[in-house]
């Protein structure tokens, strides 16, 4: 009758899953290396649906995309610098070959980065999650990035050179985005983890969904397309135009919520309202009653 609580078996299974996920990701990307897998072939309200892929002389993908989002890889010439930076900052955990086998030799403890695509690498580095503050934590936290934008691009270029994959780093063109469609899509796809107000919260087993405040547009798009960590990835089920609408909604309405009613109380909903109502409302009024009445 009792339900198994977080036992050793569960913990081992969990860690195993953690190690298995990048393998799955790798398998997916390797499978779809022929064409951009996240570019839907369906038309979107009559707008042209072009994914003009631009490649260089060696056949490496430079960029692709459309009016809503352009995806671009950093120049392969950065790969050498990227390798040097990687060895300095990342190889301790991810190994000198970026395959998740660190120098100490225990394979599988840290993710294999080969074949993850530039968008993935760029997301983790530019959001400050990597290098990890606490490598043993279940989920890395966002913080001030340790590496600059150019350094992140260089590392991404090097890892991409090991095994090219998709998606590339998106640039979202926000003009023409529909914030109302973005709100609808956010409510349907994102609110279940990130809350409808985008504040983030604790999820199962020490994982959590981060707050959507102060997240640059590029990182929002990267997260949607690559599905970092426990976040599912949204590939064919969201077109670039839809992703653009979501990014517009996140960077405007969630970043600057309209609170015409006063202080937003942290967007925590009825919990915070209850505290304020009871402490400030009833408490204050009881204190006033203490003055109005007599003490005997």
């Amino acid at each position: 009758m009792t339900r198994p609580v977080l036992s050793r078996l569960g913990a081992t299974a969990f860690v195993a899953l953690l190690g298995a996920a990048p393998v799955l990701a790798l398998a997916t990307n390797a499978h779809a290396a022929g064409k951009p897998p996240y570019q839907t072939t369906r038309k979107n309200s009559g707008t042209p649906n072009s994914s003009q892929v631009v490649t260089n002389s060696q056949g490496q993908v430079i960029s692709y995309g459309n009016r809503a989002i352009t995806y671009a890889n950093p120049s392969p010439a950065l790969a050498q610098l990227g390798r040097a930076l990687f060895l300095e900052n990342c190889a301790t955990c991810h190994g000198t070959e970026a395959n998740g086998v660190p120098a100490s030799g225990t394979a599988g403890a840290y993710p294999d980065l080969v074949g993850l695509g530039t968008a993935t690498i760029d997301f983790w580095v530019e959001s400050g999650r990597m290098p990890a503050a606490n490598p043993r934590a279940v989920e890395a936290v966002r913080r001030v990035p340790r590496l600059t934008h150019d350094q992140a691009l260089a590392i991404a270029a090097w890892i991409n050179s090991l095994s090219p994959a998709y998606p590339a780093i998106p640039t979202v063109h926000l003009q023409g985005a529909n914030v109302s469609d973005g709100a609808t899509l956010f409510a349907l796809n994102c609110a279940a983890c990130h809350t409808i107000e985008g504040t983030g919260d604790a999820l199962a087993f020490s994982t959590f969904s981060p707050s959507m405040r102060h997240v640059p547009a590029t990182q929002v798009a990267e997260a949607i397309r690559t599905g970092p960590g426990n976040m599912p990835r949204f590939t064919g089920n969201l077109s670039d135009f839809q992703v653009r609408d979501i990014v517009k909604y996140v960077t405007t309405e969630i970043e600057h919520p309209r609170n015409p009613g006063g202080f937003g109380l942290g967007g925590l909903g009825p919990v915070a309202e209850g505290f304020v109502g009871l402490a400030l409302g009833v408490g204050l009024l009881a204190l006033v009653g203490f003055w109005v009445g007599e003490r005997q």
Binding site: P260, G262, G274, L278, G281, V292
Partner: protein, 511 residues
């Protein structure tokens, strides 16, 4: 008389010694007989300890709710028909939504003063239920529910239940994502009742979820049925308190047979009306600076959408907490299912708690063998078992409230959500016991302090010539003398002449 010149002074004299007021009273008294009752009403003495004003917070926030609610009814449309929003709030522009949601958003943005009224209505309701709980705690801990006030206790408890229900119905009316989820949960709770659950759910909602005309029904219940019952019960509550007279603490000349305080007119009336204005003002200030229930940010409700970190309003939080921590006990045999994981925390548990509260006056009479009238209140520390039991129940309910925010706690303290939940299961069971023991101990110690601090009446022992010892109370020492005035009767205005005494035994005004 007709030859006398009519002057201002003679006109004034013609009205009698009290002018137009006196004349009006004469006219009314001839028709309605209000003079004697009216005077005793104005002279009525009200004890004015500050803890007696907690019920007034509830009463006056109820008035604010009614007043702001009337405003809201002019603008809300209780309809599930779909419309497309085109208004000032761009993130909703072009979205399909129910008329209920549309009218609520429209009220918030396009109606002058609409957002203020909505927020005042919501904050007043949060404060209303909180004040009822605090007032009920005061009544419980001081024993004011004892004979002859058991009926008032029952009425008050019913009011609490109705306030919670009406609050739920009310915040579900705008049909936003957060409250719509609550309606889904309510449907499932009703469904979970054995034997009749699905019939009840289909009856209330008009079919399978999401039902048919839910908002019309909720609206009628929220605006008409429940408020009517509540107004009736509040009036009965006030009338009983009026007729039985308020209780009071002992000391300072107060006894079981008198009431000490201030007369209704003008003192109590001034203070209580001032309190009404302050309560309304504080609710308005809260509504100005603290946003509540921002439905435009939640978006319209659709049954396949959900937001994380969704809780009901605080007074339903104990149910949400119980539902979260309850193990998944389900009974599934003989072709039937009883979802105990829903039925116990959401139906049986509140049922047991409220029934215990309803039965408490009778239980206490049984266990203390006390059938006496009690117009004097207990100090909570003088009744350690009752106070400790009340504290244990409050601690239990408080832990259930805390359990409804497991995710917020896990996020705030950076602990695993699963750990928080298991910790809450332990705390919900352990805390009431600890609360009982701690409270009992504190009461006992307070009793000792009370008795120790008070100087016992000194006696002068003298010996008579025959050899007897006689003890007479000594005069008060300066330290013992109170510098407060002894209570006196309300100064009355009455012509000389013997007061009327009726023989029916109905209370006689003997002034």
């Amino acid at each position: 008389m007709s030859d006398v010149a009519v002057t201002k002074r003679s006109q004034r004299r013609a009205l009698g010694p009290y002018g137009r007021v006196g004349k009006t009273i004469n006219e009314l008294d001839e028709r309605l007989g209000i003079a004697k009752g009216g005077r005793s009403f104005l002279d009525k003495v009200y004890p004015d300890h500050w803890s007696f004003l907690l019920g007034e917070i509830a009463l006056y926030s109820f008035i604010v709710i009614l007043a702001t609610g009337v405003f809201l009814t002019f603008y809300y449309t209780p309809s599930q028909a779909l419309v497309t929003y085109h208004g000032s709030y761009l993130p909703l522009d072009g979205q399909k939504m129910t008329e209920a949601y549309f009218s609520s958003v429209n009220l918030s943005f396009a109606v002058r003063g609409g957002l203020l009224m909505r927020q005042m209505h919501h904050w007043a309701c949060d404060i209303f239920v909180g004040a009822i709980v605090v007032h009920m705690a005061r009544v419980f801990f001081t024993g004011a529910f004892r004979k002859p006030r058991e009926l008032n206790w029952t009425i008050g408890l019913t009011l609490l239940i109705l306030a919670i229900v009406n609050g739920f119905l009310g915040y579900s009316l705008p049909d936003d994502l957060v409250s719509g989820t609550g309606i889904r949960i309510a449907y499932s709770i009703i469904e979970s009742i054995p034997l009749v659950g699905s019939y009840l759910a289909f009856w209330i909602f008009g079919g399978n979820y999401p039902g048919n005309g839910v908002f019309q029904r909720f609206y009628v219940a929220h605006v008409l049925l429940v408020p009517l019952i509540m107004i009736g019960l509040v009036s009965a509550h006030m009338f009983l308190m009026f007729r039985q007279k308020h209780t009071q603490f002992d000391g300072g000349g107060r006894t079981e047979d008198n009431v000490v305080g201030k007369p209704f007119f003008p003192v109590f009336m001034a203070k209580t009306t001032g309190y009404l204005l302050i309560i309304t003002g504080v609710i308005a200030l809260l509504s100005a600076f603290a946003q509540v229930n921002p439905i435009w940010q939640f978006g319209p409700y659709e049954a396949a959408r959900i937001s994380y970190a969704v809780q009901p309003d605080w007074y339903m939080g104990f149910l949400d907490g119980a539902l979260r921590i309850w193990p998944s006990w389900t009974f599934h045999s003989f072709g039937h299912t009883i979802p105990f994981e829903v039925f116990i925390p959401a139906v049986l548990l509140p049922g047991v708690i409220f029934n215990l509260a309803f039965a408490w006056p009778a239980l206490e009479r049984r266990f203390t063998h006390d059938d006496e009238f009690h117009n004097l209140l207990d100090r909570p520390s003088n009744r350690p078992k009752r106070t400790a039991a009340g504290a244990a129940l409050l601690a239990f309910l408080f832990m259930l409230f805390v359990a409804s925010s497991t995710d917020v706690l896990a996020n705030f303290f950076h602990v695993s959500l699963n750990t928080v939940l298991i910790a809450m299961r332990v705390l919900v069971v352990a805390t009431p016991f600890i609360a009982y023991l701690v409270t009992y101990k504190i009461c006992k110690e307070l009793q000792a302090v009370h008795n120790a601090g008070r100087r016992k009446t000194a006696n002068i022992v003298s010996r008579t010539p025959a050899g007897e010892y006689v003890a007479t109370p000594s005069p008060l020492y300066p330290d013992d003398r109170h510098d407060k005035l002894e209570p006196t009767p309300v100064p009355d205005f009455i012509s000389t002449g013997s007061p009327e005494v009726t023989e029916s035994g109905v209370r006689t005004v003997e002034r």
